[in-house]
């Protein structure tokens, strides 16, 4: 097991006008499950491949433990890429399907059997070891594939969108299993996904990337509760955080025709009077007083005790919004949810406000 460290690691593709990964600094702890997440083209896969040795590093370095691996070929890095291929061999037993790569590496039979048995115990496959894969379910096949990587006993597991070709059920199932297994194995793992739900539910920590630049790295809840900038605020969360234009006025920030109270010392950090106010859907309450941010409801979705209200900001100020219609989502708990077509007022606890400077995009609250 080992730590993984990126030090100012940069990758520029020939002919590109900006770096695919720009001065990445990231420390991944021994045994940590780190998820790299971001939209397509953000540099997450490139970062993983720099660690795997597939991408050249133009400047900076990558370390596994106390070894600088920047110039080492992939096979000398003691890493395992998981799920490159899970086609199982029909004439080989489950045990051989898991252990054949060790045989190629010259690992002796006793050691092979020991490692396969250990992995099988972890994966609940002990009773299937002597069988042929013919009758295995999709989930069992996935576990055999995981076993192939586990028996190699690498210092670091690398996973690049490993669930992308699975159906919905197998995806949820395997997601849970990978996270649980990683905890039990305690092997440092770097996992790449474009899916923030996967990132938030699986990672010990999550590194959010955009345009080759690391935006924020933190525990999932910290990312959710204190996003460092507008991008992270909008990217993490499902449904996404409502990000609304606001203007500094006496006593706080005006959003539409309503003034939300915000402390003076927060507002003093702003570079101009224009702000972006972020409110999570579940931070709203239907205002009992008729005071609050106006919302015109276009759809209501009831899910158990909660209702999701979808609509647009009411009483929009054309000066700040122009012709753009600001979409809003609110999750409210009420026995009698409002109806489609209603205009309601939403109240928010000032403690749950996220305030961002419009010029720098950075959080100021």
């Amino acid at each position: 097991m080992a730590t993984v460290t990126y030090k100012e690691a940069t990758r520029v593709y020939p002919g590109a006008d900006h770096a695919a990964v720009d001065k990445l600094n990231l420390e991944i702890g021994d045994g940590e499950f780190m998820v790299l997440v971001g939209p397509s083209g953000c540099g997450k896969s490139t970062s993983l491949r720099m660690l795997a040795g597939l991408e050249e590093i133009n400047s900076g370095s990558v370390w596994i433990g106390d070894r600088d691996v920047t110039d080492l070929p992939p096979k000398d890095r003691d890493i395992a890429m998981v799920f490159q291929n899970y086609a199982l061999y029909p004439h080989m037993t489950v045990a051989d399907n898991m252990g054949f790569a060790l045989k190629m590496k010259g690992v002796n039979k006793d050691e092979r059997e020991k490692r396969v048995l250990e992995a099988a115990k972890l994966l609940g496959l002990e009773d299937l070891l002597a069988r042929k894969p013919k009758n295995l379910s999709g989930g069992q096949r996935q576990r055999v594939a995981m076993g192939r990587a586990i028996v190699r006993d690498p210092q670091v597991f690398l996973m690049d969108e490993p669930l992308s070709n699975l159906d919905a059920k197998l995806r949820v199932q395997t997601r849970t299993q990978i996270a649980a297994l990683q905890t039990r194995l305690g092997v440092t793992t770097v996992y790449v996904t474009h899916d923030q739900v996967e990132a938030m539910t699986m990672g010990d920590r999550v590194a959010v990337m955009k345009d080759g630049v690391l935006q924020q790295v933190d525990r999932p809840l910290a990312l959710y509760d204190t996003p460092k900038n507008i991008f992270v605020a909008g990217f993490i969360g499902s449904p996404a955080m409502n990000l609304m234009p606001g203007t500094i006025v006496d006593g706080g920030v005006r959003v539409t025709d309503h003034v939300v109270p915000v402390a003076r010392e927060v507002l003093d950090r702003a570079q101009s009077a224009d702000l972006v106010v972020g409110i999570r859907p579940e931070s709203f309450e239907v205002s009992p007083t008729g005071e609050g941010i106006a919302m015109k409801i276009s759809a209501v979705e009831e899910t158990g005790a909660d209702s999701y209200l979808y609509g647009t900001l009411g009483n929009q100020d054309p000066a700040t919004l122009g012709d753009e219609v600001q979409q809003v989502v609110a999750r409210v708990t009420t026995r009698t949810p409002p109806q489609r077509g209603d205009t309601i007022r939403l109240h928010v606890d000032p403690a749950n406000l996220h305030v961002f400077d419009k010029i720098s995009s950075l959080r100021i609250s």
């Binding site: 593709y13 020939p14 002919g15 795997a52 040795g53 597939l54 991408e55 050249e56 070929p73 992939p74 096979k75 490159q84 291929n85 899970y86 086609a87 199982l88 061999y89 029909p90 004439h91 080989m92 051989d96 054949f100 790569a101 045989k103 190629m104 994966l123 609940g124 009773d127 299937l128 069988r131 042929k132 894969p133 013919k134 009758n135 379910s137 989930g139 069992q140 096949r141 576990r143 992308s164 070709n165 159906d167 919905a168 059920k169 995806r171 949820v172 199932q173 849970t176 299993q177 923030q196 739900v197 938030m200 539910t201 525990r219 999932p220 809840l221 959710y224 969360g237 499902s238 579940e282």
Partner: protein, 461 residues
């Protein structure tokens, strides 16, 4: 209603039972052709006189692979031809089904599962491995990282006395401007593991010749790849008095079937040392030349053989002073076409025309040796049809339900359409209690696109 994405739409595909999961398609649409193992459901389907490989996979992957195969085709890579992506499928209950990627069946292709079978000759094995190595090097020269090199993802075609390898699955592939050494090493590492697994599987099923050792086979692949890569791209340094080495490098590459499009030549300031390095190398040296001269589209070694015959014809007819293209046209109408046109219609599926011509040349040579006389081509062809061609199995589409194992026995596949299911005689085993499977039954797929922040807080708290 399903949607078809296709560059060359084929209306005959539209009425197929797209609302049925591919694994349950009625046999009337299927044909049991040999193929490798696959993680997805794959079937060969027949429509009129066409045969297509169909792979059921999610829409994103299907579209990606379709486009990648098109790119490979544009780059003249030996790969299967993409036909269409069928998406938006729903079953009779209205539940969505995965998309289907359709590719054209490669005529006269031979799957690896029958090629390494008991009784195979050692030099045949080496030729198969070489064909694989050439394919991998060609792909790497183009900047294509395969990501899943395996025998299951390769088909072979006869190529004169050798084989030509074709890529049949590009699902994990990536096309880059150029590959780093790390990417090539990674691809080669995957090739080693996967191909070792493929050979071990054949061995476990009694399908591998006993004299073949899986580890030795993959070591050979790696060594031959490194050797070829060095020849294709390596820097060579020599003294200024050895300029002939430039020409000999070009010749060596041509002999391997490659043309140099750009050769970087650098001279030291005093002119004493020269370094050369091929910068752009294109495969298909002989097949391109044959195509230019005759319009015939053949594999590389077939082209080499046919060009040799053309050169011999030119010498024999004393036409060295005549333009090569004119002689080539004459050779085509006087030699090649009369021979291949003699193949009876019922034997047309045995070998492709260029392969027939190559085999007839061989047949004639042995016949001339035996009878100590010059044997005319048409006479040799008649003998070849009677003695050889008539006795060969059909190869335009070889069948696979029965496979040959050790001791000359044959065994039946459990599912003739899917070799991933093993042999029919493999024992059915009783179900085992598997708590993981039971837990998986309760999976809530609503959590796929949505995370419950309250649950996350409770868990972490």
């Amino acid at each position: 209603m399903p949607r078809f994405l296709s560059a060359k739409p084929d209306a005959r595909l539209i009425p197929l039972p797209w609302s049925t999961p591919l694994s349950q398609w009625p046999a009337e649409h299927l044909v049991a052709l040999p193929r490798g193992i696959s993680r997805h459901v794959v079937r060969f389907i027949t429509v009129g006189d066409g045969v297509f490989a169909a792979k059921e996979v999610n829409q994103e992957l299907a579209l990606r692979e379709y486009r990648l195969l098109h790119d490979l085709m544009r780059l003249h890579t030996p790969a299967v031809e993409p036909v269409a992506v069928v998406s938006g499928r729903v079953d009779d209950a209205g539940e969505p089904l995965d998309s289907i990627l359709l590719t054209k069946h490669l005529d006269f292709s031979l799957p690896y599962r029958s090629l390494f079978s008991p009784g195979v000759r050692h030099d045949t094995v080496i030729r198969l491995l070489d064909a694989m190595v050439v394919l991998l090097a060609r792909l790497h020269l183009l900047g294509f990282m395969w990501g899943d090199v395996s025998l299951s993802n390769i088909l072979f075609r006869r190529d004169a006395g050798s084989f030509a390898a074709y890529l049949v699955d590009a699902e994990t592939g990536e096309l880059h401007d150029r590959l780093s050494d790390g990417q090539r090493a990674h691809d080669l590492g995957i090739a080693r593991i996967n191909i070792f697994g493929d050979f071990c599987d054949l061995e476990a099923g009694g399908l591998l010749d006993e004299s073949l050792d899986p580890l030795n086979l993959v070591d050979t692949i790696e060594a031959r790849y490194q050797e070829l890569w060095k020849e294709l791209t390596g820097i060579e340094e020599f003294s200024g008095s050895e300029l002939y080495r430039i020409e000999s490098r070009v010749r060596r590459l041509n002999a391997l079937g490659f043309d140099i499009a750009e050769l970087d030549i650098q001279t030291s300031p005093d002119g004493q040392r020269i370094t050369i390095q091929p910068k752009v190398v294109d495969a298909g040296h002989h097949s391109r030349r044959l195509m230019r001269l005759t319009g015939l589209d053949t594999e590389e070694n077939q082209a080499r053989r046919l060009l040799n015959d053309l050169d011999t014809y030119r010498a024999r007819t004393n036409q060295q002073h005549v333009d090569e293209a004119v002689v080539a046209h004459e050779w085509l109408t006087e030699c090649f076409e009369p021979v291949v046109n003699m193949v009876p219609a019922d034997l047309a599926d045995k070998r492709d025309p260029a392969q027939v011509y190559h085999e007839v040349l061989d047949y004639r040579w042995y016949m001339s040796q035996r009878e100590k006389r010059e044997v005319p081509l048409t006479e040799a062809m008649r003998g070849y049809i009677k003695d050889v061609l008539r006795n060969l199995p059909d190869e335009v589409m070889s069948r696979a339900a029965l496979v040959q194992v050790q001791n000359g026995d044959t065994r039946q596949l459990a599912n003739p359409y899917d070799p991933s299911m093993g042999f029919a005689t493999d024992e059915e085993e009783p179900a085992v209690h598997d708590p993981w499977e039971e837990a998986a039954q309760d999976v809530d797929i609503s959590s796929l696109d949505h995370f419950d922040i309250d649950a996350l807080r409770a868990k972490k708290g």
